[in-house]
Symmetry: C2
Subunit: 195 residues, 2 copies
């Protein structure tokens, strides 16, 4: 039975990863169970062999997306301010904006998460804390916890600016906004705190 169990774990991971992509491009309410499972090459009923409900899959997929964002983007970046600038420039690249299913879960799902169940919001919050601790460690290497609010502020600004760039029908304006986003983020990184 060992092979079978390992196989089932792999399948679960595949469901979670594909669901993360689908949720980001169609939204939470916009992604049905049949579609989510078909993305993983399975039929609707199979979901309940892995999760208690669609909501549990959503919470798990959101957690996984946040973890992936930390692992692939934040943890990979250089230490200190240089790393944050790397992250910001990647974030506001037209590629990130235009491939929403590969992009940042914050930009794709934040307002829907705010409306979601407690368990989804909790999964999101846990993931966000890991992400912002990666920011904080680069903002204030000698006292990361003190930089948490600043790190949260940066995350919110990144996500909102990206959403706005995606929502605008005027491509030129949307591109100008991405460039403005980079300038604003660098301004915030370097700012002595306002009071």
């Amino acid at each position: 039975m060992r092979y079978a169990k390992e196989h089932k774990q792999e399948t679960k991971q595949r469901i979670i990863a594909m669901a993360g992509r689908r949720l980001k491009s169609n939204g939470i309410d916009g992604s049905g169970v049949a579609t989510l499972m078909k993305d993983a090459g399975l039929t609707n009923g199979t979901l309940y062999a892995y999760f208690a409900s669609k909501d549990e899959l959503v919470a798990t997929a959101v957690a996984d997306q946040m973890r992936a964002q930390h692992e692939n983007i934040v943890a990979q970046a250089a230490p200190g301010r240089a790393g944050l600038e790397q992250i910001v420039r990647w974030y506001f690249s037209p590629e990130q904006r235009d491939s929403i299913e590969d992009g940042c879960p914050n930009a794709a799902l934040l307002d829907e998460i705010a409306r979601s169940t407690d368990s989804t919001r909790q999964a999101y919050t846990d993931g966000a804390l890991v992400l912002i601790d990666g920011f904080a460690a680069r903002l204030a290497p000698h006292d990361p916890p003190s930089a948490r609010p600043k790190a949260l502020g940066l995350l919110g600004m990144l996500a909102g600016t990206m959403q706005l760039s995606r929502a605008l029908t005027d491509r030129q304006l949307a591109d100008q906004l991405l460039e403005q986003g980079i300038r604003n983020a660098l301004t915030l990184l370097d700012a002595e705190q306002h009071n």
Copy 2:
């Protein structure tokens, strides 16, 4: 027939205004036609006496919300930097965060709008341009158009930060983020442009 026509116009306005509130609190995909009409004291079928489709109502309600945001908040604010500071402090108040149906449509709907039909995105874009021109007139009174990207950047930052504060399950952290949002917005208002 004059009375009747005026009555129908009033009813249409009521549908639009109530739909705006419902969409902000339940989301676009989360608000059904029956619910939207019931909010206005009507039955499901009546929608099609006023709009060609749910999507047309959504686009109209989004436009109305953006217009109201401009009229009630931005246009009311003082000229110059003082007015922007007023707006920012209102925006990041706990009251605005906690009553989503009365609050800013950008914070409530931006990622869903980015996934919407072209007509909804267009209605949103038109409304956003009016809003940011109100910002731009206060950022650069002598050359408002030059401040458009900066104004857009501010709008994205406001909306994203508010969404994040709503999504977090940790209330204390969410409150700290609102305060950080004020500091960040003021920093951006006063910043000489980064390059």
